[in-house]
Symmetry: C3
Subunit: 129 residues, 3 copies
């Protein structure tokens, strides 16, 4: 199995900063140079890279996704999480990150967020370096 | 040229499960460990990883995309597929998948879908392992 | 640091074709076969692969994003670019491209676009081959 870690989410829709855990997995791997593939093995959770300084940015992203894809809107899938699947399709479940000198290469304001769309739950993140 | 295979779509918007073809390409390559890059070489078709058990999940994804980006809505591009280009921009055309012991690493419910937005057509998928 | 180049954008929302710069970076690297990871180190700019022949396709993509995520709509983030962050979350900031014989493998109509959502500005693109 690939490297992995758990994420605990705390609301139906939630964004959790996982930058430190990804950096820790890179450091543990001992690799200094390459690409880190992050993969979310769920169908109602995704990944977004965006601003981490002001939590209102994540609040706005989740609010807009809820407005565009509301929870109850006559979907065919009847498990109550059709919107969660659609939101996941929009943001995606995989990201490729550049690693140099053992460090993630990110912009000044960038953090990596696990996006929960059907929580709260305990989730997993897979990583390959 | 990279490894590739064809996909036949059967409606203007369609999602076709291509998990088995991607796994077959990985098996043929003889590689057991790494990252599989999937690339859709079209401008009106994309890729989504989502639930494969209930086909209504794909129906809901396509219906919501059609509602957000309807086929005729006064677009500037006059070939009748402006919406198809926009939908492709939203879902994306590339994905990075983790391979371990010769097998794709996916979550329990995940399948990989070719997303047709201007079909029906014969399409291609490129793969690099 | 990874290979990088600058992009100058000329409007608040803008799509700039960066295919030639990415190809140039691949040629300079001397590598002929593999995957090229493109990473946008910004939180209000993303990447889209789509049609380059008719500029109206990009106009339609930007117009639809502005319609779905208008600039002023009561967001919590008060820097005037909340919509820019949301648009970035929708299109994404990373792409994995296949390289064969020293050339990007793209479909006939595909070009790679830097997507500005809070310009005009001078921006950066990171590349790892």
């Amino acid at each position: 199995m690939p490297r992995s870690f758990h994420v605990k989410t705390s609301a139906r829709t939630d964004m959790v900063d996982i930058t430190a855990q990804i950096q820790a997995a890179i450091s543990e791997s001992g690799k200094s140079d390459g690409v880190c593939t992050v993969f979310i093995p769920h169908t109602t959770a995704g990944i977004v890279i965006n601003e981490g300084a002001d939590p209102d940015v994540c609040n706005d992203i989740l609010a807009k996704l809820n407005e565009m894809v509301p929870p109850d809107a006559g979907y065919q899938h009847t498990e109550g999480n059709a919107d969660s699947h659609i939101k996941t399709a929009l943001v995606g479940t995989t990201a490729s990150l550049i690693v140099e000198n053992g460090r993630l290469v990110l912009g000044t304001w960038q953090k990596i967020f696990f996006c929960e769309f059907d929580g709260p739950r305990s989730r997993q993140v897979y990583i390959k370096i």
